[in-house]
Amino acid sequence: MSSLGYFVEQYVLLAGALFTLGCVGFLVRRNVLVQLMSIELMLNAVNLMLVAFNRQHTADLNGQVFAFFIIAVAAAEVAVGLAIVLAFYRLKSSVQSDEADQLRH
C-alpha cells in the first residue's frame, strides 16, 4: 500500500488525535453546545478511521457505507441533542452542563 503513496498510519494518528480532542473536550468543557461539537469530533474521527482502513480493502465498500450511516445517525442525534439543549435552556436559562445534575436525586 505504501507503494501507492498511502500510509494508513498517518490517518490513524490523525483520527486518534481528533478523537482525543473530542473526548477531552467533552470531559472538560461545561458548555453543552461545545460538548455536542466534541461528540461530532469523535464521531468524525471514527468515520475517518473507517474510510481510511477501507482503502486497504479495495474490493469491499463496507467501511465507507458505514461512514455514511454514521453521518446520518449523527445528524439525527444532533437534532435531538439541540432540542434537549433548547428545552434545558428554557428551564435553567443556562447551557452549562453541571447545572443539569438533577439525576442525582
Binding site: 470531559l27 443539569a100 445534575d101 438533577q102 442525582r104
Partner: protein, 860 residues
Amino acid sequence: MQAIEALFPAHNYTLLSLIVLLPLLGAAVNGVFGKRLGKEAVSLLALSVMFIAFALAVVTFFALGHAQEGEQAARFYWKGWEWFHLTRADGSTSTLDVAFSVDALSGTMALIVTGVGFLIHLYSVSYMAEDPGFHRFLTYLNLFIFSMLVLILGDSLPVLFVGWEGVGLCSYLLIGFWFEDEKNAAAGKKAFVTNRIGDFGLLVAMGLLLYYTGGLDWSTIDSGAKNLLTPVQVWPLGSHVPAASLLPQGMENWVNMPRYVSAATLVGLALFLGCAGKSAQLPLYVWLPDAMAGPTPVSALIHAATMVTAGVYLLCRLSFVMVLSPAAMAVVAFTGALTALFAASIAFAQHDIKKVLAYSTVSQLGYMFLGVGVGAFSAGFFHVITHAFFKACMFLGAGSVIHAMHARIHDTDASQDMRNMGGLRKYMPYTFWTFTAAWAAIVGLPLTSGFFSKDEILLKAYTSFIKIPSAALADGTGGSMDVFSWPSWLGTALYAMGLITALMTAFYMTRLYIGTFFGEFKGWKIVKNWQEPAHAHGHDDHGHGHAHHEPGVPLEGPTPHESPWQMWVPLAVLGFLAAFAGFLNAAPLHITPFDSWLEPVFEKASASVQLIEGAEHFELPFLGLAFLSFAGGTGVAYYIYVLQKGKPAQAFVEAMPGFHALVFDKWRVDEIYEEYVIGAVDSLAEFFAWADKWIVDFLLARVTSFLVSTSGTALRFIQTGRVQTYAAVMVLGLGGVGWYFVTPRAEAKLESNDESGVYSLTAPQGLGYSYRWDLNNDGKWDDKEKFGDRTQQSLNLAAKENRTIRLEVKNAFGRSAVRSFNFARPAPDRSGATSRLEGDPGQARRAPEMRQLQKPQEMK
C-alpha cells in the same frame, strides 16, 4: 317401570345427574337472586327442587328394587366426564371420572337425605320466616343437600370427598349463620377445624387405597382389595431407631425389631379417623355439641339426620375393605361403644334442651359405629335411618318449643333452658304427641323403630366378631405380621357398654321429656289476653337485649302457642316414621325386608363376619334385657322427676357438687384440649412467629436491606448527576477493555489420550496473534525462534514419559506471553485393561478423557 328402565339404562342412569344438580340449581338461583326474588319465590324454588329431587330418589329407589329382584345386586351408574388421571412410577395409569352410582345402600341414604331434607326445608320456611337472612339460609340448605348427594352418590372416593368437604363447608356456614355473635362464629370454626383433622385421615386412606388397590372408584377398590393384605412395616421408621443404641442390648433389639401390620389396618384406621371427625366420635366429637349454635333446623338436618351419619355411610360403603382388618374393626366398635357411653353421661347434667339432644346424637352415633364395627353393617345402617327419623323429629320438636318460648324469652340460653319450660303438653299438642313418638323410639319402647334398631346392634355386638381374613392365613403372609384376632371378652364388654348406654339414654331422655312437657309452665306467668309490647321478635338468638325483665318481678306473657302447620306437619311425618319404621327391620318378629334389601351390598363383607356359637339363643334374653333397660331408665326418671318432683336429683347434686360440676362441664374435655392440644399448637405457632420475626423479618429482610442501603450510601458519592463524570468513567472503562484486548494470552486447550499416548494442544485464534512453540523442551524455540501462525501441535509420548512444552503468543503490538504445559503419560493400567475387556470395547474407545494435567503457570 319399564319406561324408566328404557329411558335410563343401568349403565347410563342420567337421572342421577338430575337428582344431584337440582339442589345445586336451587342454591345457585337463590344465592345470586335471592334478595330480589322475595321470600315466597325463594321458598317456592327451594322447596320444589327438594321435592322433585325426593320424587326422583323415590323413582330411583323403586327402579333399583325392580332391578334387584332375585337377590341380584343392582347398581345404576352415570359418568359425567373424565376428571383427571394419575400415572404411577411403574407407568400404569388410574383414571378418575366424575361419576355417580346408586345401589341399595346409597339409594336408601339418598331417600333419607332428600325426604327428611324436604321436610326440614318445609319446617325452615316457617321457622326462619322472620329472619333477615332467609334467602341465605335456604341457599345454604340447598347447597348442603347438593353436597350430601354428591357424597352419597359419588362413585369414587375423590368425588365423595368433594361432597364430604362440601357438607363440611355448609355445616360451617350454617353453624355460624348468625355470625354477628362471636360465640356462633367460634362454634363454626371449631367444627371446621376439627373436621379438618378427620379429613386428613380420609386423604391418607385415599392415598393408601390408590397405592395398594390401584384405583379409587368402588369397583377398582373392590377388585384390588386383596392387595390390602400386604404387610407394611410401620416400625422403625428408618432402618433403626436413632437413639436406640444407648439402650441395653436386649432392649435395643426389642426397640429396633421391625413391626408389621397389614395395609388394610392402616387404611381402616385412617378411614376411621376421617369418619370419627365427620361423625363426632371420640376423640373428635367436641365440635358437635357446639354446633347447636346454628338454627335448630340445621341441627336437625345436618347435625342429627344426615351429615353426621356420613361417616357410618362411608364405613358401610367400604365395608369390604374394613372387614379385612379385624384390628381396625375392633377399634371402630370399641370407640363407638365408648363414645356412646361417654356422651350419654354428659347428657345427664345438661339443662339446655339442644345440648341434651346433641350429646344424645353423639351417643347414638356411637351405637352406629358399634354396629358397623362388629360387622353388623345393615343393623348399624338401619340405626342411621331410624335415628334420622326420631332425632330429626326431636330436634324439630325442640325447635317448635323454642319457637314458643320466644314469645317472651329472647335470650338463646334461657329460651333453650329446660328449667324455663314444663307443662307444654297442654299448650302444644302436636309438638307433644310427635315428640312423644320420637321419645318412645329413642328410649326403646318395644315395637318402636329405635327399639328394633338398637336391639339388633346390641345383639350383634355380643354375638358377632370379625374373622382373620382367610387370604392372610392362606398365603402365609399372616406369619410375618401380628394378626389381630378378636378377644372373647370384647363382645361382652361392647354389649355391656351398649346396654348401660341404653339405660342411661332412657333416663336422660325421659328427664328431658318430663322437664319440657309435664308439670307447671315455668317460663313466665301466663296472663289471658296479654298484649305484646311493640317490638319485632325472632327465633333463637338475634342478640335482642330488650326483653330482659327486671329481676324479681315475675315475667308475664301470653299462653304458649302451637307452631304453624309448616312446622308441625314435618313433625307429624317424622313422628309417624319414628314410631313405626322399626317394622322395616324387626328381627325379633322375623320381618326383615331392610336386611334382605341391603344384603347384596354387604355380601362380600358379611363373609368375614362370624357369629359365636349358639348366637340364636341370646335373642330372647337380650330382648328382655333391652326391655329392662328401657323400663329401668324411664321408671327411675319417672320416680325422680314426677313422683319426687326432682328432689333426689337435687340431693345428688348437693351431695356431690364437684362431680356434678365436672359432668356439667362435659368432663372438661374442651379444657383439656384447650390446654394440651391447642396449647401445643399455640407454642408451635409462637415458635414460628419467633422465627418469622427474627429470621425472616430480621435476618433476611432487615439485614439485607441494611446492607443494600449502606452500599447505596457509599455508592451515592459516585452519583454526581453530572454527565462529565459518567463520561469519564466510561472512558476509563473503555481504556480497561482496550488494555485487555491488547494483552496477549497464552492459553491452549489440551486433549490427552493416555491409551494411545497422543496429546494435542490447540491455542485460540486472536487478532494479530502469532505463535511459537517449544515442543522438545530444550529451552530454545522451535523453527529457529521465529513466530508463525501454527495454532495446533500434537505429540506422542511413550509410557511413563514426562514432557513440558512451552507456548509463546505475540500480538500485533509486539506484546507477548508465555505459558508452559506439562504432560505425563501414566503406566498402562492393567486392571483397567481387564475391566475394558469385560466391558463394552466401543465405550472405552469413545472416552478420550479431557483433563488438564497441570495448572498453567505464567512465565514472563
